[in-house]
Structure formats: C-alpha cells, structure tokens
C-alpha cells in the first residue's frame, strides 16, 4: 500500500487526516462510560460492585449500603479524577501544539495558519529553532548545499545534530519556485519506523523534467524534531496528525504487575474461596436453625411459608457480612504507598548524579517492590558499565604500534615525529580518520571547531586526528576541507556507504581536490575489514595488534583505503543510485552494492579507543553479586574486550577462584557439544567456584534454534554470563528466556539498542547517558550512573518490598479481624446474619481508623541503609519473598482469628447480662479492635520517628474524639454510648485485658524467636543496636571506594597475566 501526495494541490489526491494531534485517551463525552468500563475490568472492582448491588436489597443487607457504596465511590472518583487530570493535561499540551502558528505556502503565497490546519501536500515553511509540526519531505533550505540540521532528541533521544539534505531533484529550485512547485510523492503508508523512509518523488513540468528521485530518511523532517543552525527550510507535508512517525510510535505500554502484586492477588483469591466456604457453611447452618428453631421463637414471626428464594436469603446475608474480608481499600492504599516509594526514589539525593545533574527518576510508579526481588541483572556494557567517553589511546600504523609505553598515542613522540615529517602512511591514516565519518564540524563564533557526531568513536577519531594536526575544518553534504600542518586540502564527498550493524563498517568515496583521484576510505571492525583486504598485504601484525588491544579492553577499528578508477566508480555509482532508489528491500540491495566496492582494501592501520569504566562499577557489581543477584553482561562488543571489562568490573573472578567456560565452535555440532560440556562442568563444580560462560551472538542463535532446553538449564545454573556480539533482539530474547523460567529480571542499558531488552524485562532501568535518552525514556527507572543501581535495589527496592509486604498483609489482617468478630457474633444471634457493628463504625474502621496507622510503615526501616549495604546478603529475604508468602500470611490469618476470639469473648463476658445492650457491646468490641491494631502496628514497626508516633497514637486519640462526637448526635443510634462507656471503669479495665491477652502471646513468641531462633534481619537489628550507628552510609561508600580503587589498580597491573590462563583452561580452548 502506498500513499500518493500531490504537492501544493488540494484538489486532487485522497484526503488524509489533518494535522490535529491527539494524545488524549478520552473525550468529554466518552470519559465516564469508557473510564468506568476500564475500571470494571479489574476483578476486585467487579466483586465490590456486586456486593454493593446486593446491599441495595434491604432484606439481606446487614448494614447500610453506604458502607460499600461510599468507599467504592471514593475509589472510583480517585482513580477517575487521576485519569481525567492526566488526560486534561495531555489535551492542553495537544491544544498548544495544535494551535501553534506555522507558515505555509499555498500557490506561491505565504500565510500563517494553525498547525492543526496543515494538510498532506501543503508546503510548510520553517525557521531556525522551530519545532517541526508534521512529517515533511525537505525540498528547500537556506543552505546553498541544500542541507539543514535537526535535533531529534524528542524522537529518539539522541542529542547530537542530524544532517538532512534536500533530494537532488529539488536542488536547484529558487525560493520563489519552491512556493509554486507541483509534483507527486510516492511514499509508504504511515508506520512507526523512524529510521526508514523508502519513497520517491517526481516534480511536474514546467519546472523540471519528469525524473523519479529516490527519497530516504535523511530527506525528511520528522514531527517533534527541531530545526537548528539553519535559517529556514521548507518541506512537503507527507504524514500529518496522529499518522506521523512519532505519532505512530507513541504507544501505551502494558502495565507491569509486580511479583508482590501477583502474590497479593493469589492471597485475595484464597481469601475469596475461604469466604465462599464460610458463607456456604454458615448459610446452610442458618437455614437449618431457622427451620428447626426459628419458627418456635414466636416473637420473630417467621411466616410459615416464605417466598421461593427464602433459602437464599441467609447465605446472601452472610456473603454481605463477610464481604469485608477482602479489604476494599487495599488497592488504594497500595497505590498510594507505591506513589510514595517512587517519590522517595525521585528525591533521593544520593542517587543524584552531580556530573550530569540528573536525578534518579521512576517513570513507572507501580513496580518498586520488584526492585527488591531482582534475581537477574542483565546489563549492557558500553555506556552502562563504562563511561562511553571514547578516548583515542593507541594505534598501529604500518606495522608500528604507537602509544604502548605511555598508554597514550597522542603523547608518543615517535608518532608526533612521523606526523611532523609527513610520513605518507601516517598522513593517509590520519586522513581516513578525519574524513571517513559522518561528523559535522561546527564553528563557533570564536573560530574554535567542535564536532557533532552520531557515534562516540567517530568523534574520538576526529578529535584525535585534529590533535595530530589533521583538522577537519568544514564539511557539507558534497565537500569537505581538511587542514594538515596548516596546508588545506579539498575533497569532494561523493558517496557515503553507511554503517549498519550487519555490515560493521562504513566507507566514503571522495574525489581528491588537487589530483582528481577517486578514493574509497573505509573503517570498520577487524572481522569486517580484514577479509576484504588486498590479498597481497600482510595483516599479521595488525591482527596481533587487534588481539592485544582488545585484551586491554580497548575498542578497535581498522582503517583502510583504495584508489578507484574513474570508470569503475562511475559504473558503481549508477548501481548505487539504483539501489538507493528501490522501494523495497532497499537496505539489502545497498549492502550488496557496497559490498562490491569494498574489496581489495589496503589496510592502513588499527586504532584503539578506550572506554573507561564508570565510577563505582566494580564495587557495585561485587555488592550486587554478594546480595545474591546474578549479573549477566550483554554487549554488542567483541568477546575479548567484553571479558576484559568483565574482569575489571568484578563480574568474573580470575583463575583459581573462577572459571570461564567458552561456548563456541565453527559448526552447529561443535557448538552444541561445547554447550553440553559447559553444562556438565557447571553441574559438577563445587559451588564455591565462580563459573561463568561466554558466548557470542552467532552461537546463541544456533543454540536457541537447536538446544533451547539445555541453554535454559545452563542459564539457571550460571550466576554470570558474558554474551557478546548481541543484537538488540537477542538481548531481549535472553531476558525472555530467564523470564519464562520464572526469574525476576532487571535490564539496564543506555542506548537505543537496549530498548527492547529494557521493555522486555520485569524492570527496565535506563542510564540517562551520552547515547541519548532513548533507553531512559523506555525504562521504568532512569538513573545517572550504574553505581546508583545498588541503592535502587538494596535500599529502595528492599524497603519497598518490606513495606508492601506489611501493608498488604496488615490490610487483610484488619479486615479479617472485624469479619471474624461478625462471624463469631452470628453464632449468638441464631445464625441470622446480624451485624454487630453499625454502618458508620464499619465504614470508618476500614477507611479511617485502620488505614492511617498502616501508612506509618511507609517511614519504617527495618535496618539502616548502612547495614543493608554492609550485609547485602540480607536482600535474600525480599528476593526469595520471605516476607509475603502463604506461610507469613497464614501467620497473619491466625493472628486475626486469635484476636477476634479475644475481643469477642472478653467483650461478651464483661458485658454480660444487664450490660449486654447492642450499642455498648458493639462499641466495646470496636474499641478492642482499635486498641489491638494500634499495638500490632507498634510491635511491627522497627523504627519510630515522630511521624509514626503521631500517626499511630494520633489515630488512636482521633478514634475516641470522633466517637465521642458521634455519641453527641441525638439522631444516631450510638447517641451517648461512648460517653457512657468512657465513664465506666470496667470499660477501661476491659480494654487493658484485651490488649494484654491479645498481645502477650504475640510478644512472647516474637521474643523467643528473636533470641533463640533469630532470622538474619533480627540479628542485624541486634548488631545495629549493640554497635550503635557508627557510620553513615555516605562514609561507608567512600571507604569502600578507596579500598576498591586499590584492588582495581592491582588488577590492572596484573592484567597481562590474568587473561591468558583464563581462557586456556576453559572447555573449548581450541579455537
């Protein structure tokens, strides 16, 4: 399917949507039904609605329907207004974008219209720093060369400038002609691929001949980018409104469910089943009592014959009575708590990166608990573990290695001498460094040149070249000027054979200004360049250099060149033109054509670029590993480089304590055999030894095709893995494999190639780094540096999990407590389903009295951050879900049953006979529950700040104040009841008794466990108490840093000796 766009001609062509951008989910009219429908998709809400509807039937309802309708309405209003607010804000920003004024040219007349009025085929006129209102095909710019610069940060997160050029067909149009140009564009239907645009364009006479001209992504200006460093540009609207590429790639992510959430759901279902059982049993028994006993009680006036549904009435009454077993407020409480966790993360000063001034941010506020349960971390290497600041360190030119002594080739006098003496090979080498790239030099006002590049490596190379006196001074789409030892050279840039991840190389074809020679300049990965080298050339020393550099953890690139015959180039150029014009499968065709030219390359040399480890990476990885988290490294880099980085950052242990199993092979059989061998070794080696396996993308592809099962087993056994040469898809696949086995995975990365993995993992963490914000935008959390991950997991994740575990189980506890009391009471009411508590008390109990104290747990810390970072093993408790599982829940269940018995029996016995009136007993029982829950929260709180004290005991006082006030309202049932009770000594004595009997055994058991069978958490709390708070976490961090720095330098010194035995001992050392 294609769309035809008729330029500047509104009369013909199909009509496409206008440029009204709409990100809103709802309209004013469909908001209510749509939002309600959405909310009722949740099981809990359906359940509560059913209960609320049943309550409308006054024959069965034990309490006023308000008890359910009230909270239900509040919950609905809260989440609906949150949605509405978000949507309203989206609407406002849409409106702002839609009503922005833009210049369009219609039949040669320029006019200003609102952005939303742009139609497909209109010519839009943009000025410098304008935001591009819709997807355009560039047809003219102020630049005589026909280029312009755009900032695409809003689209792909990359902060560098991109060059856009006008299609050749429009090259010679004057600005007057531009307004009147007519033509047709043939382009694909809207899609979301921001890197592909395969289209072509034809202009109508009389302006120009009727030739078809290919269009690619670099002829387009995409919506939401900005025009920079260009006075004006104009283009034809091709996609508008929500059909633009940025509009199409907007999508709502699936909401993620945490492990804790799904556990809560399971428990809810269990309670639901329990409730049904209770209802059936009590309902059945109630019917029997009614038939056998009820009719004898004349004062009840049971009719001899009831309606047909009579047998349902009592069970339904019990259903309503027991409906409070599932706390209606749990969802709201948890959402609120999660919001607070996220705020804590956003506000954490110790996760604020001062260098780039980026705070940590949690885009997804709902999954903080999962951070505390992470089992696998899958990390990208470049930019995540390393700084992604590329520095040119060494090179090998003409079989001479520079930079070996000092570790910095730029300071190597031999190289400097070679440069000053114009050694031809070195000059050529530098020329390739300066020209073979897509770097844009930008001259600032004071004459200094800065470079904008899409790839950090290229920037490093160009900068290094300029330091070696080979300065790229200016460049546009067709020519470049370099200045070497203060003499200038002009080059005509003919073609760019672009870099793709498949080709792993890029080339440019230039025409030398003076001599008119055609040159092919190439650079690329060693395995992409060496096979294409001139067969006559010796590459052994280069191979050795590559090997050595990658052992040092450096990134290598090979540079080469070839002189082209003019005829050869002309012929090739035609083919290249054709391939670039093809509408389908263009990329493949171009690659093929490029391949045909990139042959017989003369290798000039090898460059080595250092990518330094980020600050604090080794100790972070060490800490995370000792916390029981398995860390895998997934990188697109070479195996040797990856292994070296892994060693440097503590991911793998050097020989004697560790072993690296390499899974590789030349054929499928070899690979599979080596996989099996690795599996056997994994199984037989004692646990103490650190085993890791390493494989590359090609191997993984074969393994996944043939032996998924063995690989899954290997993945489960291996704490560490290094996967190199991974494509973005493979990274996501690995995450997928671990997820299917049931592990909780966290993926961390910084670049666009990590986005899929980040979205696939349970938790995606993005480093807001140099490769742009793309990963950070897709991620659930974004942090400035890798080292903040330890705080994110060990501090925030752990606390969040602990707190959620308490909040959820406590919510069930308090609901069960009140529900059990109702059930116990029903045994003395002839199983008729009378509610002991009145409607106001029930509603206030759930919504008010018990939900405030539980919030105190948001400020609770079971142990200090320092202790957690000192004993990272403690993470195991949250990781293994030891605080929220069926058995801990059974404990809470038992406690609520016990407390219900205590409250009910004591109340019934102290308020027997003449004091047994309904209102008093109900209030005594309710106060008993409030007293108990205040003590339960107190006992389960680990650290008391003034907030806790205020909330717990303030709530307690508030309970009395509220009830005393309610007892002063004559129309209420409970009029004077609370005043009456408070004046009776027996009431206070009863409360003390309830608390003592209720809490005594709990305290005694907890004490015995604490002292005689302590959990690690208990022990650490005791250690903390006995040793006192010695260090704050900031101090510890710096202390460990010094220690680890030492370790690191030791490691670096021994580097040479480490890498050799490591691989030689491994399973498949035969390579």
């Amino acid at each position: 399917m294609k769309r035809f766009v008729y330029v500047n001609d509104e009369s013909c062509g199909e009509s496409y949507c206008d440029n009204r951008v709409s990100n809103t989910k709802y309209t004013l009219w469909n908001f209510l039904p749509k939002n309600l429908l959405e909310q009722f998709r949740r099981f809990m809400n359906q359940y509560f609605l059913l209960i609320a509807c049943l309550q409308l039937w006054s024959r069965i309802t034990p309490v006023s329907p308000v008890t359910t309708w009230g909270p239900l309405a509040i919950i609905f209003i809260v989440s609906a207004s949150k949605e509405a607010w978000d949507d309203y804000n989206r609407y406002l920003s849409d409106k702002k974008a839609n009503e922005r004024k833009v210049w369009v040219v219609k039949d040669g007349i320029r006019g200003q219209i609102k952005a939303q009025e742009i139609h497909v085929g209109n010519i839009v006129w943009l000025h410098e720093n304008d935001e591009i209102p819709c997807d355009l095909v560039l047809i003219g710019t102020s630049d005589p060369q026909g280029i312009c610069y755009v900032e695409t940060a809003a689209l792909d997160g990359e902060t560098d400038l991109k060059t856009r050029i006008i299609p050749s067909i429009c090259a010679n149009l004057s600005s007057d002609q531009l307004g009147k140009v007519k033509g047709v564009l043939e382009c694909p239907n809207p899609d979301n691929d921001i890197r592909r645009f395969d289209a072509n364009m034809r202009l109508f006479p009389p302006i120009i001949d009727n030739e078809k001209c290919p269009l690619a992504i670099n002829n387009t200006l995409l919506q939401s980018c900005y025009l920079r460093y260009t006075e004006w540009a104009c283009g034809v609207a091709i996609y508008t409104g929500n059909e633009t590429k940025s509009g199409m790639s907007r999508g709502t992510a699936e909401p993620k469910l945490t492990a804790a959430d799904s556990m809560i759901d399971k428990l809810t279902v269990a309670i639901f089943v329990f409730q049904i059982v209770v209802v059936l049993v009590l309902g059945f028994a109630g019917n029997i009592w009614k038939d056998s006993n009820g009719r004898k009680h004349w004062y009840l006036m049971y009719p001899a014959e009831g309606p047909w549904y009579d047998f349902l009435v009592i069970p339904l009454r019990f259903e309503l009575l027991c409906s409070i077993m599932i706390p209606i407020s749990i969802k709201v409480t948890l959402d609120l708590a999660k919001g607070v966790y996220a705020k804590f993360i956003d506000c954490d000063e110790q996760m604020f990166d001062r260098e780039t001034s980026t705070p940590a941010h949690s885009a997804n506020t709902a999954i903080s608990e999962d951070l505390g349960q992470v089992e696998y971390i899958l990390s990208d290497k470049t930019g995540t573990l390393t700084e992604n600041i590329m520095i040119f360190r060494r090179c090998c030119i003409n079989n001479t290695q520079y930079g070996d002594d000092s570790g910095d080739a730029l300071k190597d006098t031999r190289l400097l001498n070679a440069v000053s003496s114009n050694e031809p090979d070195v000059v050529k080498f530098l020329m390739v460094m300066a020209l073979c790239n897509t770097v844009v030099p930008i001259k600032s006002n004071d004459g200094a040149i800065s470079y904008k590049a899409q790839s950090q490596d290229e920037e490093a190379l160009v900068n290094a070249a300029s330091n070696l006196n080979m300065v790229l001074t200016s460049k546009d789409s067709s020519s470049a000027e370099i200045c070497f030892n203060s003499s200038k050279f002009q080059y005509e840039l003919l073609d760019v054979l672009e870099f793709t991840s498949d080709r792993k190389r890029m080339s440019v074809v230039v025409k030398e200004g003076g001599s008119g020679k055609f040159l092919l300049l190439s650079k690329g990965a060693d395995e992409a360049i060496f096979p294409r080298s001139n067969p006559g050339q010796q590459t052994k020393t280069y191979l050795e250099a590559v090997e050595m550099y990658s052992h040092l953890g450096l990134r290598t690139l090979c540079l080469g060149w070839r002189e082209l015959e003019e005829g050869e180039y002309k012929e090739w150029s035609k083919k290249f033109q054709e391939a670039s014009c093809s509408l389908d499968n263009r990329e493949c065709k171009i690659a093929e054509v490029c391949h045909s030219l990139e042959q017989g390359i003369n290798i000039l040399g090898v460059t080595a670029i250092e990518d330094r480890l980020q600050d604090g990476v080794p100790e972070t990885i060490k800490l995370l590993r000792s916390a029981g988290i398995n860390v895998w490294m997934l990188t697109g880099d070479k195996q040797n480089t990856a292994i070296q980085i892994a060693l440097l950052c503590n991911l793998i242990t050097p020989e004697s304590n560790g072993q690296l199993l390499s899974i590789n092979g030349k054929t499928e059989d070899e690979i599979l055999r080596s996989l099996e061998r690795a599996l056997v070794i994994m199984k037989t080696t004692p646990e103490r030894k650190d085993l890791a396996f390493v494989l590359d993308g090609w191997t993984l592809e074969i393994i996944l095709k043939h032996s998924m099962e063995s690989f899954t087993r290997l993945a489960m056994l291996s704490r560490t893995a290094i996967c190199c040469r991974m494509t973005p898809l493979q990274k996501a696949q690995l995450v997928g494999i671990l997820k299917t086995v049931g592990y909780l995975t966290l993926a961390i990365g910084d670049g666009g190639n990590d986005v899929r993995m980040i979205q696939e993992a349970n938790i995606g963490v993005g480093i807001s780094g140099r490769e742009g914000l793309q990963a950070a935008r897709a991620a659930d959390y974004s942090i400035g540096k890798f080292k903040f991950l330890k705080r994110l997991i060990l501090v925030h994740g752990r606390y969040s999990y602990n707190r959620t575990a308490f909040i959820s189980q406590y919510s069930f506890y308090k609901s069960l407590l009140i529900c059990f009391i109702q059930i116990l009471f029903s045994f003395v009411t002839g199983l008729s389903g009378t509610s002991l508590f009145n409607s106001i008390s029930l509603m206030a109990y759930n919504v008010f009295y018990t939900s405030l104290p539980v919030m105190t747990i948001l400020f609770d810390k079971d142990m200090s951050e320092t202790t957690v970072l000192q004993y990272p093993q403690i993470l195991l408790y949250s990781q293994a879900g030891r605080l929220l599982n069926p058995s801990t829940f059974a404990g809470w269940f038992g406690r609520s049953l016990y407390h219900a018995l205590v409250v009910f029996l004591i109340t019934v016995h102290t308020n027997a006979y003449e004091q047994s009136n309904m209102e008093e007993i109900s209030m005594v029982a309710l106060s008993g529950c409030i007293w108990l829950q205040a003590f339960v929260v107190t006992l389960d709180t680990n650290s008391f700040t003034y907030l806790q004290v205020i909330l717990i005991w303030g709530n307690f006082v508030a309970f009395y104040i509220i009830n005393l006030i309610l007892s002063s309202v004559p129309t209420l049932q409970m009029y004077t009841v609370m005043w009456r009770l408070c004046s009776q000594p027996s009431y206070w004595i009863t409360m003390a008794l309830i608390v003592t009997i209720g809490m005594g055994p709990v305290l005694a058991l907890r004490y015995l466990r604490n002292v005689y069978r302590p959990s690690a958490i208990d022990v650490l709390q005791q250690i903390e108490q006995t040793n006192g708070p010695t260090q704050t976490s900031r101090n510890v961090e710096s202390a460990t840093r010094i220690y680890l720095d030492q370790l690191l330098t030791d490691l670096r010194r021994n580097k040479g000796s480490i890498h050799q035995p490591l691989l030689s001992d491994s399973v498949a050392s035969i390579r």
């Binding site: 210049w103 103490r688 006979y913 309904m918 305290l1003 690690a1016």
Partner: protein, 353 residues
C-alpha cells in the same frame, strides 16, 4: 519579507525558553530534607531479654492487684436469682406449658418466696432475665422505626417494621415493629412480711432515650390491636417517653441471655429476710424453651456480680509474672548473645544459597 519577521519572533521565543531550561537544570537536584531522604531520627527498640522480662513483670505486678480489687468488688455484690418459669406452671399443666400460657382463662398469678442471703444495701436493682431469647436476631433487631418514636408527625413511617407495620385495615401502628410488639409483660409485687416493698419504676431507662429517642408527644396508637397479641399492651394516654418499660425493652440486647431493669427498691434488706413476690406470669417463653428469672441485685463501682474480670486479671497477671520468671530462667540457663555474626545464615553456610 515576512520570514525575517517570523524568524525574529521565533528566535525570541527560543530565547525565553533557554534560560528557563537552564533554570530547570539547576533545580533538578532534589531538595534535601530529612523526610524525603528517609533520614528522620528514629528510635529502634528491639526485644532484648531485659526489656521483655520487665514488661511482663510490670504487667503482672499491675494486673494481680487490679484483679484482686475487681474480684472483691464483684464479691461485694449480693444477688438473688429466682427462676420461675417452670415453677409457676400449675402442676396439672406441666406437660402442656404452651397450653397454659396461651390459655387466657387460666390465672397467671404465682407467688415466689425469696430468702435474702446477705445484707443488701439500697438501692436494690430488680431485673428480669431471659434466656435463649434472640433480641439480636436480624428479623427482630431491625424491626423498628426510630423516626416514628421521635416525632409524632412521622407516625406513618413504618418502614423496616415488617411484619408489624400496620393493622389489618392499614393504619400505622405506633410503636411499630416486632420489638415493641413483643414487649415483656410479667409483673412483680414484692412484700417483706406484711410490709410492701415499693418498686420504683422511674428512671429505669436511659435518660438520653427518654429525652431524645422517645418523644413526649407521641402516644401509642393501634398497638396490639391485631389478631395476634404479642406482649404487653400500652396505655395509649401515656406518651412514649414515659413508657419506661418499653424504652428499656427497646434497647435490644446483643446476647441471647440478658437482664433488663424492672425497677429499684430503695429499702435495705437484712440477711434471712424473706420476701414474697406476687407475679403475673404472662410472657410466653415456653414455646422456645426460654427461661425467665427474677434477679435482685446490688451494684458496685464495677457494675453487677461479674467475676469474669477479676479472675481474668488474676490469671493473666499470674501468667505474666510466670513468663517473666520463665524467660529470666531460660536466659540464665541458655544465654544467647544478641547480634552474633555467627547466627547470620550466610555465615553458617558460607557456600551461599
């Protein structure tokens, strides 16, 4: 040309934007507060032996005396209980108690003799006690309309009074509902020797009920006029606020065994005094096997004769002291150092998990 103009404005626009962006960058740093950094000063108590033992000991030490005092108070109360539902049935009717109670021609008068076991100081509370009577049954407890009792204009409001809402011809019953309909109607007259002990039936109900729940200008109407007579009839010339038996009865009990105040006797009774009670045994508890008891009781600051609190306090206090000693002993025999690194699970099994 327009373009230069437009360029100017757009530049101006971005110029405004830039410092704003810079300012934002500067304020990205989260504001420090002990609250957001979760660094509020906190007290972290842990369960040390010393602490736990002293809590238990303290609780025990407080509870035992309170228990003793409560028990003494309960013992001070003198209570005379007399079950009369069986005894008041004529000998020839013991096989057909229901027939006896439902037959209006048989006289329900009955005389009981009580002996005072101990001196009783006035005021002496007269209760009637019903057993196995479900005032808390859902059909029963809801069968009333408070608005009707409070306001004479709302006499027609009989919702939720089912099945005693209206008379057969549709007139609203005041007070409506099962509770009022089944009002207790046994009466008692007390004599010591020949001396008549007057039972003061004033102020037996809650003051708040008389003043706010049962209005002075609401009179019973159409009450007990239907085919089925439940309990007592009400004098329709007395306003509801003065019908104290009804008010007491309508404070429904939460338990199937309950006492309701009948009246007070403001005379001191001596040990071995004999009291004759002439009673009208009208109320039907025979159909469901409920018991009726007459209770004479004094009261103390803690209420009536209820040992439960005293015994519970003694037992709990004793247990707490016992636990305190047991924990101390346990700790002496088997001391455990708190916060010992060796207890950490990963130190015990270095191989890890």
């Amino acid at each position: 040309m327009d373009s230069s103009n437009a360029a100017g404005t757009s530049n101006g626009g971005s110029g405004d934007g830039d410092p704003a962006a810079a300012a934002r960058r500067n304020t990205k740093m989260p504001k420090y507060s002990k609250f957001t950094q979760q660094e509020l000063p906190a007290c972290k108590p842990i369960l040390t032996p010393k602490w736990v033992v002293s809590v238990f000991f303290l609780v025990g030490v407080i509870f035992v005396p309170v228990g003793v005092v409560s028990l003494l108070a309960a013992r001070d109360v003198v209570e005379i209980i007399d079950r009369y539902d069986d005894a008041c049935v004529p000998v020839n009717m013991t096989d057909n108690k229901l027939g006896y109670i439902q037959n209006e021609t048989i006289s329900k008068e009955c005389t009981r003799t009580l002996t005072v076991t101990k001196d009783m100081k006035q005021p002496i509370f007269v209760y009637y006690q019903l057993d196995n009577f479900y005032q808390n049954h859902r059909r029963y407890v809801k069968s009333r309309n408070d608005a009707q009792l409070r306001d004479y204009k709302k006499a027609n409001q009989t919702t939720s009074c089912e099945p005693e809402r209206t008379t057969a011809d549709g007139k609203p019953i005041v007070p409506c509902g099962l509770i009022a309909w089944s009002l207790f109607n046994d009466t008692y007259i007390f004599n010591r020797g020949n001396e008549n002990l007057t039972v003061d039936k004033k102020d037996i109900s809650w003051k708040s009920d008389r003043e706010h729940k049962f209005a002075k200008n609401v009179y019973p109407s159409n009450f007990q006029n239907g085919g089925l007579i439940g309990g007592a009839k009400l004098d329709s010339s007395i306003p509801l606020s003065d019908q104290e038996d009804l008010i007491v009865w309508m404070r429904t009990a939460a338990l199937p065994t309950f006492r309701k105040l009948y009246g007070r006797i403001y005379v001191d009774l001596k040990e071995n005094d004999t009291i004759t009670v002439k009673l009208d045994n009208n109320y039907n508890t025979y159909s469901f096997g409920g018991k009726k008891k007459l209770v004479l009781s004094t009261a103390t600051w803690l209420g009536g004769k209820n040992d439960f609190l005293g015994f519970a306090y003694l037992i709990v206090g004793g247990l707490c002291i016992f636990l305190a000693f047991a924990f101390t002993l346990l700790y002496v025999i088997k001391p455990r150092k708190l916060g010992d690194h060796n207890y950490l699970s990963w130190n015990r099994h270095p191989a890890g998990r």
